[in-house]
Every structure is written in structure tokens, then in C-alpha cells.
Amino acid sequence: MPAGPSRADGAPGALRPSRPAHWGRYPAAMVQPAPGPGGEGAALPARDGPALRVSGLTKRFGDRAAFEDVSFEVARGEVFGFLGPNGAGKTTTVRTLGTLIAPTSGSAEVAGLPLSPQNGEAIRRRISVMPENPGLYSRLTVRENLELFASLYGLRSPGERIAGALDAVRLADRSEDRCGRLSKGLRQRVGLARALLNDPEVIFLDEPTSGLDPVAAGEVHDLINGWRQRGVTVFLTTHRLAEAERLCDRVAILNTRLRSVGSPKDLRASLFGGSLVVETATPLPDPRAVFAGVAAVMEWTEGGNGTYLLSVADPRQAAPQVARAVVAAGADLISLAESQHSLEDVYLQLIDDDGSAPR
């Protein structure tokens, strides 16, 4: 049994910001939902545990690892983003947690049940998976597709559930159309409606917006946000970093091995630290003297034309000090802002650390 996730931090640290040791081993407090009144320490039934608990999970095809030694937890009600380049192992992870393929080693709990062949059926009742390709019967109508799955889930009042799912994805008026004739965006929505039928505890979405136009993608985002409000756990793989940033409570970055896990904000902060951009009307005569006098500024560089980039530990705390120092130096301060790194910067940084992507 692997003792825990071992992080292979590839590149030598010189040019890279060093990564905090807790990456990927985020404290449980970040993961667990706040305990209810009196709930602390009580023996909790399985359903109150995390939605997903993955520990040292590995899947190999022959001698090639699709993913290796992956460990993370996803709390109930969380929208969890799973990012990584092509071939990183995202789909294989979804299939493994979705009970379609067996892991080579490691263990996992899905919707409160240990991942094992014996639990396969019970897990499948509690989850739903929308694969990369939604996989609809093109000769059947939207309704007929949903009817099949409603029966396979053994739903009590399938008619109502189907109507509800169709309403949720706003497809009620297309329910008699054959799926083969629907546009990609509509097919994707049928796939989402199908994923809703069994009222799952965990929904796995494998690139639900790939190939969708911005409006259609936005509709999918709205749906996911709606699920979050209802407390459904969503495991979302995506290549769209802006999407992950907007939707996900936390993201994991995978490149065969897990590179990091955390909220987009924490990832940015821990990878890039804080930084401030200062702009003055005219270049400061002696910037060294100005910034050296501010304790919070750890490092600074000149961007030209009176702009300066300052590395600070806490931008909110440092900003007023910097403002005072600049004004005290007699300069006209035009703007002072926190510099923004996108999740994409984080992603590229981590993936570039690995040298090359797996395939």
C-alpha cells in the first residue's frame, strides 16, 4: 500500500518558484464540509464522508501508466475540476472511478463506497457519468433515449423524472426529435439530462463543453452551477481553464501524476506568490531607494515607462505601504494594482515543469 502521494517535482528549483510542501496533501479542513452542529467526531455513516477519496490510484495499460499514484479527496457538494494535457489520464481516471475499468493498484471510495468489483453495481446507482462523447442512440428520440436509462435505473416514476430532466436542460420541446438529428450542443444537453435521471450523488463530466460554442458552453456552466446549489458533487474534466476557474471550488492538475490540488486562488498564490504593479506618471528617479524602504517588498523589477512589478507576501497588506512610499518620494501615483495570474499561467507552469506531456 503506498503510504501517500509522492510528488515528483521535476524541474530544479532555480528558475521556478518553489512549491509549498503541502501541495496535493491539502489539509483535511479544506476538503471536509463544515461539520454540522454536534456532528464533530460522531461516527458518521458512509454517506457523510467525502464524495470521492482516492489514494495512490494507478492504472497501467501494459507498461504505460495512464495515471499513476493519484491521491485526492472531493467533498460532498464540491465542483472539482480535473485538468491536464491530452493523454494526461483524465478520461481513464473518470472511467476508473466510474467503475468501468479496474485500477492496477491503489484504492478509492466513490460516493461513500470502496471501489471494488463487488460494489460496482451499488456505486453505479449513486453516480452518473457523461463520457467525452455523450453516446446517444441516434435512431431513438431524445425521450426514448432517456426512457431506456430511466428503466435501467429502475426509476419509480420515470415519466416525471424524464420531464424534469428535459426541463432542466431546456429540451422539452425537442423530446420527440431523433438524437441523430440534433446538433452537438443539443446532444450534449441530452447527455446531461441523462446524467440527471438517477439523481446521482456524484456526477462525472468528461469535457462537457468540448466543441461547444460559447453560448452553449455557458448553458452547461449554468447547469453545473445549478447542481452545485443543490449540493450535487461534480467531477469535471476540462481543457478550458477559464471554465475551471469560474466553476470549480478546487482543481487538480494531472499529468499522469497529480501535479497539484487546490482552489484556483490558492494555486495562483502558492505558485506565483503575490505581486503588485505600480504605475507612476514619470519614472521614479531612484526606485531602489523607494522600494528598499518598504519592508513588505521582497523584490522588484522595472517594467519601463514608470511601471514596476513588486513581489510581496500579501498584496493587500503591502499596497498601502507602497502607496505611501511612492507618494513620499514625490512621485505621482497613477495606479497600484495586484497583478493577476490566471489559472492558465498556473497550468502552463506546472505542465512545462514536466518537460513534455505524456504523449
Binding site: F61, G87, R124, N133, L148, P214
Partner: protein, 274 residues
């Protein structure tokens, strides 16, 4: 292990039936095959004069019974292969296998959907040929032999049993094969040996009697069950899914990316929607 759930099994069958009804290839086969297999033996039967020697009559009867069994022996394997590979091509196996459906429900549901129409078609063919022979045949020996109880019993029993074998073979092959045509051709080939065995009864190499018909029927049943066990073992989630992946990559179908490329991530600008 608890048995298959009838609701889920029949849901599969219903789904298959709906798809078949909208598949020109299967509908066509259901229409064309009866026509061929009704006309062909009737021509032979009507050609017999009232004084044709018994050996020639017997040959026609043998061919007729054999032709009656070709439909249930061959058609279901073709349908089954088409249905399994159709699931893969449409990418429906993956969502299907993430539901609580069991292997047995899936397989039996599909089998039933392929078996019912094939067996019905073969009974209709048989009924029509028998009726036409009664009404119009000049040779009375052929009518009497065709209406021979044990022969009819053999016919009625063998049709579903041959189709059971045929579906198992078609399903098994298509669980592994990637191309529907190859699967169908192999399936057709593999459906023939049991047909050869029935020929022993059709051509009265073994005198048709109730015990012979029932004996052969039981034999087929045992073989069918054994074959189904083998096929069920082949129908394992992981193999179907990872096999499907190889297929999707090769077929270049919906959304497959060429292997060996690393793409930069797709950027979506803020404000792309809302």
C-alpha cells in the same frame, strides 16, 4: 448472485426493437428473406409431379426443411453483430455500462430482440410454405411428408435453439471484432455447423421422430447455454470500453484526436458568455 431483473432486460429488448425498426438493413432483411425463403422451396415443391419417385420427393422435403432453418440460424447472428458494434460506434456502451444494468440483462435483452423477429419470420415462412403446399401442390407425398409431426416439432424446436447459438456467436465475435462486416461474415460462418446437424434430420439420415427431435433439441440447448457462458465472460466492462477506445481512435469519429499530439489548452476568454 441474484438473477437478471426483468424490467431492465425488457427495457433493453424494447430499445433494440425500436432501433431495428428504424434500421433499413434489418427491416430489409426481415422483408426480403421471407420472400426468398418462401418462393424458393415452393418452386421445388410445385415442380414435383404427382408421380415423382419417393427419393426425389424426399430430397425436396429435406431441402425445404433446411431452408426453413437458415433464417433462424443465420439472421440473428448478423443482427446481434450489428447491434453490439452499433453500440460501440455510437459510443453508447460507455453510458450503458455506467448504469446498474447487469451483463446478463444486457446480453439477454439484446438476444431476445434478435431472436423474436428471426424465429417469428421463420415460423411464418414455414407456415406459408406448408399452407401453399396443401393448397396447390400436385404431389401428395410431399404434402404428407412436410406435415409429418416429428418433422414439424423438430422445425419448431430447432428454430429458437439455432438462433440462440447464432446470437451467442454473433455477440461473441462482435465483442472482439472491430468491423461490423467481418463480424457478420464470421458470425454467419459460425452459424452453419449446427445447421449441418439439423440436415441429418431434414434429410432423414436420422429418421425424424419425437425422441430424435427432442433429443437434438436438448443437445442444442446444452450447447447454447455453454456458448452463452463463454460469451458472457467475454463481455467484460473493461474490455468492451478499452476496445471501444481503440476503435474510436482508429475510426476518427466524433471527437477522436490523433494520437501523438500534444495540444495547447483551449483558451476561453473571460466574457465568452453571459
Amino acid at each position: 448472485m441474484s438473477g437478471p431483473d426483468l424490467g431492465r432486460l425488457l427495457a433493453m429488448t424494447r430499445k433494440e426493437a425500436r432501433e431495428f425498426r428504424r434500421t433499413p438493413f434489418i427491416l430489409g432483411a426481415m422483408v426480403v428473406l421471407p420472400v426468398i425463403f418462401i418462393i424458393e422451396p415452393l418452386i421445388d415443391i410445385f415442380r414435383l409431379g404427382s408421380s415423382t419417385p419417393a427419393s426425389a420427393v424426399q430430397k425436396v422435403v429435406g431441402v425445404t426443411f433446411l431452408l426453413m432453418l437458415i433464417v433462424p440460424a443465420v439472421l440473428p447472428s448478423t443482427i446481434a453483430a450489428y447491434s453490439v458494434i452499433g453500440e460501440r460506434d455510437q459510443g453508447t456502451l460507455e453510458p450503458l455500462l455506467t448504469t446498474p444494468v447487469r451483463r446478463s440483462e444486457l446480453l439477454l435483452g439484446k438476444a431476445l430482440a434478435a431472436m423474436i423477429p428471426s424465429v417469428l419470420v421463420s415460423y411464418v415462412i414455414f407456415g406459408v410454405v406448408l399452407l401453399c403446399a396443401h393448397l396447390f401442390a400436385a404431389n401428395q407425398t410431399v404434402v404428407a411428408t412436410l406435415s409429418n409431426g416429428p418433422e414439424i416439432l423438430a422445425e419448431v424446436l430447432f428454430a429458437p435453439l439455432l438462433s440462440g447459438w447464432s446470437i451467442a456467436v454473433g455477440t461473441g465475435i462482435s465483442a472482439r471484432a472491430s468491423d461490423v462486416r467481418i463480424a457478420q461474415q464470421l458470425g454467419t460462418l459460425a452459424s452453419l455447423p449446427p445447421l449441418a446437424v439439423t440436415a441429418l434430420v431434414s434429410f432423414q439420415v436420422l429418421t425424424p421422430s419425437v425422441p430424435v427431435a427432442v433429443g437434438f433439441g436438448l443437445g442444442f440447448l446444452v450447447i447454447d447455454i455453454a456458448m452463452w457462458r463463454v460469451v458472457a465472460a467475454m463481455f467484460d466492462r473493461e474490455r468492451l470500453i478499452t476496445g471501444a477506445r481503440a476503435l474510436a481512435a482508429g475510426g476518427g469519429g466524433g471527437g477522436g484526436r490523433p494520437p501523438g499530439t500534444v495540444r495547447r489548452i483551449q483558451m476561453v476568454q473571460e466574457g465568452d458568455h453571459e
